[in-house]
């Protein structure tokens, strides 16, 4: 069972983790600090499912510590480790999840809800171009690949 818990990480600790997330690569450290303010900490025990394929997506996750396996139709696609993100597209649409995420080890995650994220963008519009740049780069790389 995933459970939210009172934060143990300082804003700086969260930023140190968020700065490695691909979609935030063009955000300044200060923008990351704003994002960290809406990132809540979540603990997941080993073998628990974070979300299932087909679930409505409403948040993205960043692994602070631990490993997550991502499966599609019961086949492992990839494993995500420290300071990597998964379920990122949830920030941009709430389409059903494409994969199932399961904790391989006990997990310490940061969870960013898309609703909070949009509220944040409304208050800090300087973050939007940085996000756009990263997303466009990612879409371009998908097209080129």
């Amino acid at each position: 069972m995933t459970r939210s818990e009172p934060g143990t990480l300082s804003p700086v600790d969260k930023v140190l983790c968020l700065q490695h997330v691909d979609v935030f690569k063009y955000a300044t450290t200060e923008m990351l600090a704003y994002i960290s303010s809406i990132a809540s900490e979540v603990r997941v025990t080993r073998n628990e499912v974070v979300f299932r394929e087909g679930d409505v997506s409403y948040a993205m996750y960043v692994v602070v510590k631990g490993r997550v396996r991502l499966d599609k139709e019961d086949r492992e696609v990839m494993t995500v480790g420290d300071c990597q993100s998964f379920g990122t597209w949830a920030l941009f649409d709430n389409q059903p999840r494409l994969m199932t995420a399961t904790a391989v080890e006990d997990l310490h995650l940061l969870k960013i809800r898309s609703e909070d994220f949009y509220d944040l963008l409304a208050d800090h519009d300087e973050i939007t171009p940085a996000m756009f740049k990263a997303v466009i780069e990612r879409v371009k790389s998908l097209v080129t690949d």
């Binding site: 804003p11 450290t29 200060e30 409304a122």
Partner: protein, 831 residues
Amino acid sequence: MSSPRSFIERIFDVRQREVERVVLASTYLLLIITSYTTVKAVRDSLFVTNIGPSQLPYMYLLIAVAMGLVSYVYSRLVNRIGLYRLIRATSLFAISHLVVFWFVFKSESSIWFYALYVWVSLFGSITASQFWLLSSHVFNPREARRVFAWIGVGGILGGILGGGLTSIVARWFGTESLILIAAITMALTLALLERIKSFAPAEAGIPHEEARKPAESEGGTVRMLREVRRSRHLFLMVILLTVGVIVEAFVDYEYKFVAKHSFTSKDHLTAFFGTVSFYIGLFSLLFQMLLTSRILKRFGVGWAIVLLPSGLLAASVTLALKPVLWAAALLQLIDGGFSYSIHRAGTELLYLPIPPQTRNAVKGFIDMFVDRFGRALGGVILLLLTAVLALSVSSLSMVACGLLIAWIAVTVAVKREYLHSFRRALEKKAIEPEALQVRVLDNATFKTLVTALSSNDERQILYAMDLLSNTPPDRWRQHIQMLIQHPSSAVRARTIALLTEWNDASITKEEFIHHPDYQTARIATASVLSLRWNGSLRACELLTELMNDPSPEVSRQAIRTAGIVEMEDAIPLLIQKLPDKRLRPEAREALLKFGDRVIPELVRRLSAHDEPVSVRIRIPKALAFTGRQHAADALLGSLHRFDYHLDFALMKALNRMRQNWPAIAINEDRVSGAINKEHEDYARLRSMLVWLQLNAAGDRASSLLTRALRERLDQRLERVFRLVALIYPPHDIYSVYYNCKVKPALRASAVEFLDNLLTADLQSTVVPLLEDSFDPETTAGRPEPIQFISTDAVLEILIAGSDPWLKEIAMHLAGRYAAHEPAPMPGRNVG
């Protein structure tokens, strides 16, 4: 009684800050059209007198080919040497050529008449296109939508002036002397260009990396042709416009042929051409001002585009029956008069259903491709009919009648297709509301929009309401009231908002204020208060309660009302609403309604340290929108008194004021002081960064601090540029900053430009920052102005500073170092 300023704004829809630009631009257009009209009459007269009208079809072909070649070379030139230099070069080129033509016509060598004929057509099309390109740099798209129609009037007046001048001068001083007048007129444009240039961003004048590809590539033409084939509406438009260009060639030929055989004197012929141009201009101006909008509203786009071919058909029949001078002149008058007025307005309307993202490309394609293709085709047909079949003017007119009947038939089909396309665009929400602002909506289009109000789709209705809100309320007031019964609360709220905006008393009716839906009833109550405001305590309390309503729709309407009735007691609450993004635009708008009275309270709340930062940070923008001098003074006076982010908000607000209200005076000494302060902060941050880099602790948090410091240095540089832009032309300064940041190849020229622009004092402050930021090698090894003795000292300064984010990281690091004592960190002061 309204001030002259508001009179200009109300009648002409031209803002005060735009007046000088509009006057300059329309005068510029007036001069180039005067020059063109004059030299065109000379060209026509000299050509038909010395060479003869039988050669005209060859000229149509030659012009089409020459235009293709010139546009190919031209698009490369504009990218290579920049717009201003090209315009200046074109004007100088034109003036020198006109002088050369003036000399060589004394020799009577026939080659010069051919040369002049093609040259004038190219001159007309290049100078006009350069002018509109220049205007698109001088006015932003929103301004352009409002003022381009007024600038266009300059062109019509230029036609009248050029025609009148030609008519008089040719008779008194001879045809050739007009060439010199055209040259002088062009010389005047050079003086205006310098002034107009000062309003445009500097990057408009320098070569553009992205624009280095030719404007009209082969691939682009093929893509456009595919686009045209896919859309029936576009296909029919292309047919319509092509037939129009072919007929224009017929009209031109017949007119010049008959005129040539009616005058024996070259100068009288020139004067006649000038007179006709004069009347064409006058006819266009009067028709445009008095009838175009009425005809469009009453009869619609179909009538607007059928008037020209119908008029030409009647005139062609007359010319076929009676090939005399007045009939030919009538034909030309109808062609020119309608083309520059109602026909142009109707054709513009035809572009409305085309999605905005392809509209410009389609227009460009039609203007260039259709014009050249139609002109060449017209030339070929005329050659066939005159050189091979040797048809008389009467017979040619009969052929033209056939073409005109085909034109009218295509017009009917285009009109039908236009309405289909418009309905489809409406369903897809592909029409941008601003597009309706500049167009007079015809009846059929308008009815289509009104029908959409009865749709079952809430979003479709809201979209139709948005589009219609750009049209005069009286045209659709009666259709909106029924929407108060609509099941959608959003539609009901929008209905009430619109009726309130129009001061429509119907919102006081029972069905509004006692609407069964409680929220709708409260929105209506908030609206009614604006119509029946008595300022009583009860009314104030009710409005305050509604402003604090949990429903944002109710709160929004109450805020609007507070602004409309200027309830002074509401000012503190309105300021408090600024952080709420759902209510922010309305709260700001309402505050601005109080004018000067709101400024002291805004300034007080900005400076109040106990005020939440979320409120304070929104105040500078609100102050900027007042556009008042004392708001600017207060903003400038507050610089560097608050924290880092608030300072940035102040700078952005000042930049906005400088841009939108150029008349506002900025105290240069204060700005210089602020630049020096930023420079000092930059130097201190840089020294900290250098220290931390040289004494790297190697942990992730220290790296984060160095990264954050680097980002802050970049931001400090931006702030310096924002400040410099307060006392120098903002466009130039932003352009230098942009080029330094994004285009490494242009950095050297940007710095050079800045070197020449700034005073010596500022140069010594700003240029080294630029070099340090973008070209660190030049500053490497330079001694740091501030020497630190330890990392602790750096952290202490950051913790004591006003930058919350740097403070946060520094405190984090300090905490960690303290927890790990006594293990020494590299460069740490452990003693």
